[in-house]
């Protein structure tokens, strides 16, 4: 990997994060005037984690304040918000947002304390929003199925109910990590959080047992179930498993629910790398091509590539970490990153499929124009949604992990 280029990219990632935080605290998913000029709790939470990793704690706090103040009366965080914190969602429940915000809040608390947690941690901030924390936890637990101890969702990270409606691994990992985060926050504030701890342990055990396939030696994507309260779930109309590979099957380790060296995780990552590394373009795809739902054409995503590099860094596999991060560095354009990258050929195939099927929405036409107008188009690449802020935050996190592991003097 070209470290000079990586450093330049890192610096620009920080700049982009700062520039794309609205004065009210929300991180745009993509800048105003582009495709996603809204605040999505998922993207926003990762941006907060990016600022924490970069030591930008006041930005992180501002981001958390924005989101905690925008919580719905039910305790849910909506799919997306405008810059004033008004719900502008157009999709159904995405419960991973609840987990991610609690997780990010706990990471913030720990970062403010650092080595002097007892004296320095920003407990006052967490105390100020304790009611919101309680409501966020309650909302997660309201969506827990007591037969299997897993959290039910309709959408998750890919906003794709066809494969995510039910007990999905990313939603469950983030919610479980969020519950543990709330337990840590509560403990720091002297609250009684024993019940939450037990619930979090139940969800964790269920993830490791029910969302892991011993015969495949891999975590699986989803147990599809239509209704949260189907009892028994075997009789639910959707009852089935999604066993296709998905980059987020790494989520249990990414969110600290399982050790990176645990063979269940190691083998899951092997399967992800084997089946989702893009042989033509490099980089990691998010799920199999046959799902045929990559606006702008099938291809690798920079933030999932960054995410998986964290595994290789953690297990001391520098070659693979370099392969992953080096690819991200090489694909950045003007030190900025798109949502994902495709080829001209795949782009045309996608366009053809969606046009024929009559599912090409008007809103996609602008995206198509931008892809074709991007300088990389002439080199044979389709850069889709440029820039997307999320991968910049993921790169900050991944590159800091990489440098700390392989270049730290201690």
């Amino acid at each position: 990997m070209d470290l000079k280029e990586a450093d330049k990219l890192y610096k620009n990632c920080m700049k982009i994060l700062i520039e794309n935080q609205h004065p009210n605290g929300g991180f745009y998913a993509s800048p105003p005037g582009t495709r996603y000029p809204f605040i999505y709790p998922r993207d926003h939470s990762i941006c907060i984690l990016g600022t924490i990793s970069a030591g930008l704690l006041s930005e992180a706090k501002k981001g958390l304040e924005f989101m905690l103040a925008s919580q719905k009366p039910s305790g849910e965080f909506s799919q997306r918000y405008d810059v004033d914190g008004n719900d502008t969602s157009y999709k159904d429940l995405q419960i991973d947002g609840n987990g991610l915000i609690l997780y990010a809040l706990n990471q913030y608390l720990k970062a403010t304390g650092g080595l002097f947690f007892e004296s320095l941690a920003d407990r006052a901030f967490c105390e100020q929003y304790w009611e919101a924390i309680e409501k966020a936890v309650d909302f997660i637990l309201q969506n827990k199925n007591d037969e299997v101890n897993l959290i039910h969702t309709i959408n998750s990270i890919h906003e794709y109910p066809a494969y995510e409606h039910g007990f999905e691994i990313y939603a469950n990992s983030t919610c479980c990590a969020g519950l543990f985060g709330a337990v840590e926050i509560g403990s720091a504030l002297g609250k009684n959080v024993e019940e939450w701890r037990q619930q979090a342990e139940q969800v964790k055990e269920a993830i490791l047992e029910r969302l892991y396939s011993p015969r495949r030696r891999s975590f699986i994507k989803c147990i599809r179930v239509k209704y949260k309260s189907s009892d028994p779930i075997g009789y639910d109309a959707y009852a089935s498993s999604v066993i296709d590979v998905d980059a987020v099957e790494y989520a249990p380790a990414l969110f600290g629910l399982i050790d990176e060296h645990d063979l269940r995780n190691v083998n899951t990552v092997k399967r992800i790398d084997k089946l989702l590394w893009d042989e033509e373009l490099g980089g990691l795809n998010r799920y199999p091509e046959l799902w045929d739902r990559n606006n702008g054409g099938y291809g690798p995503w920079l933030h999932f590539t960054c995410q998986l590099s964290n595994h290789y860094t953690a297990v001391n596999n520098q070659d693979m970490a370099e392969k992953y991060l080096g690819w991200v560095v090489s694909m950045a354009h003007n030190y900025m990153m798109p949502e994902h990258i495709s080829t001209v050929e795949r782009f045309e195939m996608w366009l053809d499929d969606y046009t024929n099927a009559k599912i090409l929405r008007d809103s996609k036409l602008t995206m198509i124009e931008q892809i074709r107008a991007h300088p990389k188009w002439k080199e044979g690449f389709a850069y889709v949604t440029m820039p997307l802020i999320w991968p910049h935050a993921e790169f900050i996190i991944a590159y800091n992990n990489y440098k700390k592991k392989f270049f730290s003097r201690s």
Partner: protein, 175 residues
């Protein structure tokens, strides 16, 4: 055939027709509006729809599938639905502040509009409902001409958006 798992929305619409006969259209309309408001309270502040310039629109009607399914089962739109729509039109004709009225293409617009208005109100916005197109075959779009004028757009512009959407409204920040 009614599948038990999807029976509730159909039961709700049968309930509406029964209610018109039991308590009359005026109270039924109030009841539908009240449901919309109560549901809005549970969701908190929010602004619906996809932005299109200064306007917002819904590409599809969230109730269309259930409505079509209901009509498929029971034939023509029940006369009670028509009774409600006619009542609303008469009421609006007598209303001096038509700008605030919903553009009603189906009875469910009443509940939906009340929900949308209440959530916008919690966010500090007023709502103008410009037009709505029913998904029921043969139905004409419903317009609120006063709201269109107040929104500062033309009917032609509204019609243009109606080609790709079913419901058009504008949120106005309250002073």
């Amino acid at each position: 055939m009614i599948r038990l798992g999807s029976m509730l929305p159909q039961a709700f619409m049968i309930g509406i027709t029964d209610l018109v006969n039991i308590i009359g259209p005026e109270k039924t309309v109030k009841w539908l509006i009240q449901i919309g408001r109560e549901l809005a309270e549970t969701q908190g502040p929010g602004l619906e729809g996809a932005p299109e310039g200064d306007l917002n629109y819904l590409p599809i009607c969230p109730f269309s599938d259930e409505l079509i399914h209901f009509i498929d089962m029971f034939g023509e739109r029940p006369k009670e639905f028509q009774t409600i729509v006619e009542y609303v039109k008469e009421r609006e004709a007598a209303n001096t502040d038509k700008v605030e009225c919903p553009a009603v293409a189906s009875i469910l617009c009443l509940m939906h509009h009340a929900y949308r208005v209440k959530r916008a109100e919690m966010a500090g916005y007023g709502t103008l409902h410009l037009a709505c197109r029913s998904v029921v075959t043969g139905s004409k779009p419903a317009y609120n001409e006063e709201a269109i004028a107040k929104a500062g757009v033309t009917k032609e512009e509204v019609d243009k958006i109606l080609e790709k959407g079913v419901c058009i409204f504008k949120f106005v920040k309250e002073e």
